[in-house]
Symmetry: C2
């Protein structure tokens, strides 16, 4: 995440008003399903790449992790994360995940929530994560769905009255930079195909354990816009394990 969007005043302010920022994990539509992917943290060394406010770090710590390190590029987010993590023992480090270096087999579990689509070189990152994990260590992450990132602006296609007609897909096999609009602000994201995510993992020494496109939970369907989330996949949740 070389573009440090989350440290821009307006963007950060808007992001901090989102349910997932104010309520934490329970405010994130995908958490219900992502939670099922969470491994047994007891006694484990955990790394969270793109940790933001540190919600997943605290979840790991609360569930018995031996050590937790959260990394992010945003100073504002890490400051907030530290404020909320006092007394937990969680460490935070400010660095782009592409630039992190650790000795081999430093972690048992690597987490990442909605951050890999900010990374340009996914294969290089996978290679690093694989080296940082112990054999049979877990990589559990969520990412924006290729269907959601392909076109670019990440918006519905609408009629002249503004009604949603469908979600547009285009340039699918042209991977790379997209100028997405998130919270009304321009944000750089990287589109890659499902093949790159899944076959990339399989070819980088991982086995796939679970692949799920989360749907909003029943009780969230009344929230504005949530029913439309059934019309196209927005995220991909993946649980993988480093092969022995």
């Amino acid at each position: 995440m070389k573009e440090n969007k989350y440290d821009e005043e307006i963007f950060f302010e808007k992001y901090s008003q989102m349910d997932r920022s104010k309520k934490g994990l329970s405010g994130a539509g995908e958490w219900r399903q992502f939670q099922k992917f969470m491994p047994d943290f007891r006694g484990k060394r955990v790394l969270d790449l793109g940790c933001g406010y540190g919600w997943h770090c605290r979840y790991a710590a609360e569930n018995g992790a031996a050590s937790v390190l959260g990394t992010d590029i945003s100073q504002k987010m890490l400051r907030r994360a530290e404020e909320m993590s006092v007394g937990t023992g969680i460490r935070y480090r400010r660095k782009a995940m592409e630039d992190l270096e650790f000795p081999d087999e430093s972690f048992d579990i690597v987490l990442s929530s909605l951050a890999f689509h900010y990374v340009r070189d996914f294969f290089r990152l996978l290679e690093k994560i694989n080296s940082w994990l112990v054999p049979e260590g877990k990589l559990v992450f969520s990412v924006e769905h290729p269907v959601f990132t392909a076109y670019g602006n990440q918006d519905w296609y609408r009629d002249e009255q503004g009604n949603i007609l469908h979600f547009p897909v285009d340039r699918y096999f042209f991977e790379g930079k997209r100028d997405a609009v998130f919270l009304g602000e321009k944000v750089i994201k990287y589109h890659r195909t499902l093949t790159t995510y899944l076959n990339g993992l399989l070819q980088s020494g991982f086995s796939l354990e679970q692949v799920v496109e989360p749907q909003p939970p029943e009780e969230m369907l009344d929230l504005p816009g949530m029913e439309d989330e059934l019309r196209r996949p927005m995220m991909l949740l993946i649980s993988a394990v480093k092969r022995k």
Copy 2:
């Protein structure tokens, strides 16, 4: 494949004019990549579900399979398959794949090319395939991509002049029957999500070996419409293995 579209005169005639019908595997845009998924057939018992003209059956036989059984619901297609398979020892059986019954561990390899999206109950089928395979037996198949089947009609979204704007996605999480248009004819297909395909396999006792969305090979890009195939994924190629 309970709807026996391929035995309707007009549809069959149109289908038989397609490159993949006339030229066989080399006429199919995805074969270049699907071929890489083909396991070592030597001495193996092979089942091809929805075999059509039997191209994959003959490929397996030519590559040393001990026995090959192709099944399909279309009499016209099986007749053509038999004509082209004289002297190969390949057997063909006319039956919807949902209705097939075999003893446990009857096959080492199960193939299927672009047929599972005609099947209503994928989980039931997976359960059967798993029982038919030996431990570490392979399931290698192609299927229409969920992006391609979600909306329904499987056509581009165009402007008033008929120019392609993008490919529409809608109703993604509403799995089930779709009235698709294929070769100008109405055909019933079943949309299911990527989650159902991939997590379905993982939960049905399979490990994933490869997941690829094929792109048209370089030398086919000049063929009419082929360049547009880079704008959205149309197929999904999957190689899975029955867990021990």
